[in-house]
Amino acid sequence: MREQVSELIYRSFLTLDDLDFPGYISLCLPEFNYKIGAYSPEIRKQMTWLEESRDSMKLLFESLPKHNSDHSRLSRLGNIYLMNKESNGDWSALTFLQVFRTTLDGGASELFAIGKIKDTIRGSDGGLKLLSRDIQLETRMFGFGHHIPF
C-alpha cells in the first residue's frame, strides 16, 4: 500500500509536468482541496497564494490556454520523507518538493522553487486518490513567474 501511495504522489507530479491536466484531476477526489502558500517573514504572516477545490482547479486549467504564459517546462522532483496510515484509514504523506524550470530556448535548467507538501490520501472505488494537498513553499521569488501551480 505504501508503494501505491508513493506512486499516486509521483504520478501527480508527472501529470503536471506533462501538462496532463485531466490526468491530474483524475487523481483527485471530488472533495479535493488544494492550497499553496508561504510564510512571509517580512510581514510576519502566513500567506495563502491559491486555494482551490477540484472543480475550481479544473476551471483554472481550462482557462490557461486563453492566457499569455511562459512556456518553459517545469519539472517536479519529490522526495517522500514521511508516510503514515491514520486511524481513519487515510494516508498522510510529507514530501519535499523541488521544482526546476527549463527554458524552451536552449534548454537551460534552474531551480525554480522548493517547499514541502502535506498530502492526505484516501481510498475510493477508483483506488487511492488525493483528498487534500497543502504546499508550503520556502521560495517566495519566482522572477516573471508561472501560471501553473505546483
Partner: protein, 402 residues
C-alpha cells in the same frame, strides 16, 4: 511592407511628446542619473505601518536611489528611517528584513545605536579614540520619514525636498475616503525581472495592454463603462484613472465580489500612479501597492503588497485574499502576464539590440486606451532629468516633421 534599416530608425510620425528613445530604458549613465535626480529627490514608499506594529519593530528597505535603509518604530512610537550603514566601517547594521531591535548593535565591532539614531556606545571608545572621536560623532544618518495615504511609510533621502503633502498634491484625492481607515498588509512578495523600472510603471499607466490580459478583457473591456474611464494628470508626474464596474463573473471560475471597500462603488476600480514608480491599485475588495526598485537599467525589483482593512472579520479577510490571489497572487491570472510582458520588453530592448523608438502616440480624449498617462510621466521625467525623453543624448537627428 517591412522596414529597411534606415526606415527603422526614422523618427516616428508623431509630436516629440508622443515617442521616446529606447536608450532611456537601457543606458547605464541615464540610470545612474535617474537614481540621483529622480529617486533621491522623490518620496518613496518603504513599507506599511502595519509591518511595524510595536515599539522597536523594524523593516529594512533597499532605496531605489541606492542607499540601504532601516525603518524603525521608536519607544515613542514614532517611525524613523536611517541608513543601514554603520558609520564606523560601513557594515550593514541590520541583516534581517524584519525584526525588533531596542538597541541596534553592529555585529562587526559591537558599536551600539538607539532607535533615534544616537550612538550609545563605541566599544573601547576611550581607549582607541581618546577624545578625538566620540558617540556624538557617530550618529546614524537619518532619512526624512512621513506616514500617509493609507498608512504607508514614505521616505525621502533629500533633506531639502518638499513635504509629502506637497509632493502628492491633489493626486490622491480620489482615494481620500477609501484610505481613511486603518489598513493591513496581508500579502507581500518580491520579483526581480530583467527590465527597466519605467516599463513596469508603464503597465500601470496604460490599459491598452488589457489585450494581454484575458481576465481584463472578459471582465472589463467588453463591459459597459470601460471606455469611459479617464486619465487625469497631476503636477509632479502623478496620474489617476477613474472607476468602472468590473463584471468579475464574466470570467469562468470568477465570482462577483461579495466584499467591497468602504467608499468604493460595487465592483469599482481606481488606480493612481505616483511618480516615479508606485501604484495604488484599489480593485473592489483589495488594495494592491507596487513599489518599483530599479537595480540597474535592465534589472528591476518589484515589491508587491496586498492590503485589506485592519478590522476585517476572518471571513472578509479570507475573501480579500482569494480575490487578490485570483489575479495578482504569484499564481494569479494577471500578474504573470504583466511580468512576462515587461520581461519581453527588457529582452528586446537590451543595449545592442538596435531597438530605437517606443511610441506613446494613442489619443482617445484621455480615456482608457489613450497613452496620455505615459506621456505625462515622461514629461516629468524629462523635466527632472533635464533631458528630452525623445532625444536623451541630444544626438538624434529628427528625420521628419515631428
Amino acid at each position: 511592407m517591412a522596414k529597411t534599416a534606415e526606415q527603422w530608425i526614422q523618427t516616428p510620425p508623431f509630436p516629440t511628446s508622443h515617442f521616446v528613445d529606447s536608450r532611456i530604458y537601457t543606458d547605464e549613465t541615464l540610470f545612474k542619473e535617474e537614481q540621483e535626480k529622480i529617486f533621491n529627490k522623490s518620496w518613496i514608499i518603504a513599507c506599511h505601518e502595519s509591518e511595524l506594529p510595536g515599539a522597536y519593530d523594524y523593516r529594512t528597505f533597499s532605496h531605489p536611489g541606492g542607499a540601504p535603509l532601516i525603518v524603525v518604530k521608536g519607544e515613542d512610537l514614532k517611525v524613523r528611517s536611517f541608513y543601514n550603514i554603520c558609520p564606523h566601517r560601513g557594515n550593514t547594521l541590520l541583516y534581517d528584513p524584519v525584526g525588533n531591535a531596542k538597541r541596534i548593535t553592529c555585529i562587526f565591532h559591537a558599536w551600539m545605536f538607539d532607535t533615534k539614531g544616537n550612538c550609545l556606545e563605541i566599544s573601547r571608545g576611550k581607549q582607541g579614540y581618546q577624545d578625538r572621536y566620540t558617540c556624538d560623532d557617530a550618529s546614524l544618518r537619518e532619512v526624512r520619514t512621513e506616514i500617509g495615504y493609507g498608512g504607508f511609510v514614505w521616505v525621502n533621502v533629500d533633506d531639502n525636498a518638499c513635504s509629502l503633502k506637497e509632493f502628492i498634491g491633489d493626486s490622491m484625492n480620489m482615494l481620500d475616503e477609501q484610505l481613511s481607515m486603518p489598513l493591513e498588509v496581508f500579502h507581500y512578495h518580491k520579483a526581480i525581472v530583467d527590465t527597466n523600472y519605467k516599463l513596469w510603471h508603464d503597465t500601470n499607466s496604460e490599459f491598452y495592454h488589457d489585450y494581454m490580459h484575458y481576465f481584463n478583457r472578459a471582465t472589463g473591456m467588453i463591459q459597459p463603462g470601460y471606455f469611459d474611464r479617464k486619465y487625469t494628470g497631476y503636477p509632479n508626474g502623478h496620474a489617476s484613472v477613474g472607476s468602472m464596474e468590473i463584471k468579475y463573473d464574466a470570467y469562468q471560475g470568477s465570482k462577483a465580489r461579495s466584499v467591497g471597500w468602504p467608499g468604493l462603488a460595487p465592483g469599482g476600480w481606481v488606480l493612481i500612479d505616483i511618480f516615479p514608480g508606485m501604484t495604488f491599485n484599489l480593485r473592489t475588495s483589495v488594495l494592491r501597492m507596487d513599489t518599483a526598485i530599479p537595480l540597474g537599467p535592465n534589472k528591476l525589483l518589484i515589491e508587491f503588497r496586498g492590503l485589506g482593512l485592519k478590522n476585517d472579520t476572518p471571513e472578509q479577510r479570507a475573501e480579500r485574499v482569494r480575490d487578490h490571489n485570483f489575479i495578482w497572487g504569484p499564481f494569479g491570472r494577471n500578474l504573470h502576464e504583466d511580468l512576462l510582458g515587461v520581461h519581453g520588453q527588457g529582452r528586446a530592448m537590451r543595449e545592442g539590440t538596435d531597438s530605437k523608438w517606443v511610441i506613446h502616440g494613442r489619443e482617445e480624449n484621455m480615456t482608457i486606451h489613450d497613452e496620455g498617462g505615459m506621456r505625462h510621466f515622461y514629461s516629468e521625467w524629462s523635466k527632472k532629468m533635464n533631458r528630452q525623453a525623445f532625444n536623451p543624448m541630444g544626438d538624434n537627428k529628427l528625420t521628419q516633421a515631428a
